[in-house]
Assembly symmetry: C2
Homo-oligomer: 226 residues x 2
């Protein structure tokens, strides 16, 4: 992922030290203030060395994506099956997601600054993001699979990707949210989970077939293009 052709143990440790220093500084000072020079210094390493392990500052952040996702997955899986219907499962997933990323809110705004840049590795649709994206949709697939209630097969198949987009949307709001403790985001999340589940119910009605298929075809094209 980071062009790593079998690093020696010592190199691995250096790499880890740099990543750790970066995450610390991101958390403490935000994205801009965490300069590559500061990161290198805290890691006890030269500037150029940081670039030996991470092609750019943004690649360093790619590692952050992976880190928080892993953390999230662990927490979700631990108690996912205590929740039976889709609404409860989705709510549990989204709630823990917000808790997982919360410590990084200060720097997340600038972290995600490149989210819309097609050339940036940070773009959620970019090749570099693919592994994390795959895992995230896999998690959402599990959320859907285990839920009771019947959903048409075509919609069910597309749901992980759709829910991932929904998750991205919530995160986008979270980034912008200036309210204390991100109260508004949590509120928005609770209500929108409700609505999303309601819409899934609606789209599952028999006479919705044609519109649903048209919508799904469009979505399929979209994700194929990315």
């Amino acid at each position: 992922m980071t062009a790593a052709p079998a690093l020696r143990p010592k190199a691995l440790e250096t790499r880890a030290r740099i990543l750790e220093a970066a995450l610390d500084l991101f958390r403490e000072r935000g994205y801009e203030a965490a300069t590559m020079r500061a990161i290198a210094e805290r890691a006890g390493v030269s500037l150029g060395n940081a670039y030996y392990y991470f092609r750019s500052k943004e690649h360093l952040i790619q590692a952050f994506y992976g880190r928080t996702h892993d953390e999230h997955r662990t927490i979700v899986d631990a108690r996912l099956d205590e929740h039976k219907d889709l609404k409860a499962r989705l709510r549990w997933t989204m709630r823990t997601k917000l808790e997982t990323v919360e410590p990084y809110h200060r720097f997340a705004g600038l972290l995600f600054r490149s989210a819309a840049d097609p050339l940036s590795p940070l773009n959620p649709f970019s090749a570099e993001s693919q592994p994390v994206r795959r895992e995230a949709t896999a998690l959402l697939a599990r959320v859907v699979e285990g839920a009771r209630g019947r959903v048409p097969a075509d919609l069910r198949a597309a749901l992980p990707n759709l829910l991932w987009l929904y998750e991205m949307g919530i995160i986008l709001f979270w980034i912008h949210d200036p309210s204390p403790g991100r109260r508004r985001t949590r509120q928005l999340m609770e209500r929108s989970v409700d609505l999303v589940v309601k819409l899934i119910g609606l789209a599952s009605l028999p006479f919705m077939g044609p519109v649903r298929r048209a919508a799904l075809r469009l979505v399929a094209e979209l994700s194929e293009a990315a």
Copy 2:
């Protein structure tokens, strides 16, 4: 808009020269290659002087937003009322939008790089973007107003904002679209306009009242927060 307390004629001309040079360079070389130094040089002006008129490179781009919007509005208005139903009006609007921005595709990717950055003036939700955003939704309001067919009042009122979000989505896709002449975007646009109008029809059905209101309330909160 650009903190301009009554510029003298000569100053106005300098400002215009800088903006013109910037737009030229953006078109010719893309965003990154159009350095502030190059812009200043082409405008026959010192580097510092460019910053006297535009607080930052991104503010320079804000002017681009305004420029293309004005152009778009003129084209749309010229023939908007030849189209009677909502689908035709919306399609006409979106089609001309894509044509208007097409010359800038090369640099648009990096132009919109900060679209997701809450602190950037380029963020469509930012205070700096408000004037353009207002005008854009006003245009979409005209698109909706003049259309025949009945749409519930609550939905009708929210439609300009919703359609603006839809437009942003299409633009986002356009930015990423590597297909020749942005063929895929045009295709996506045609189909999604269809779907959007269908969905508006669906949401207008009597028994959709509760869900529609829940959805609109959510959207209202969203835009209030921004």
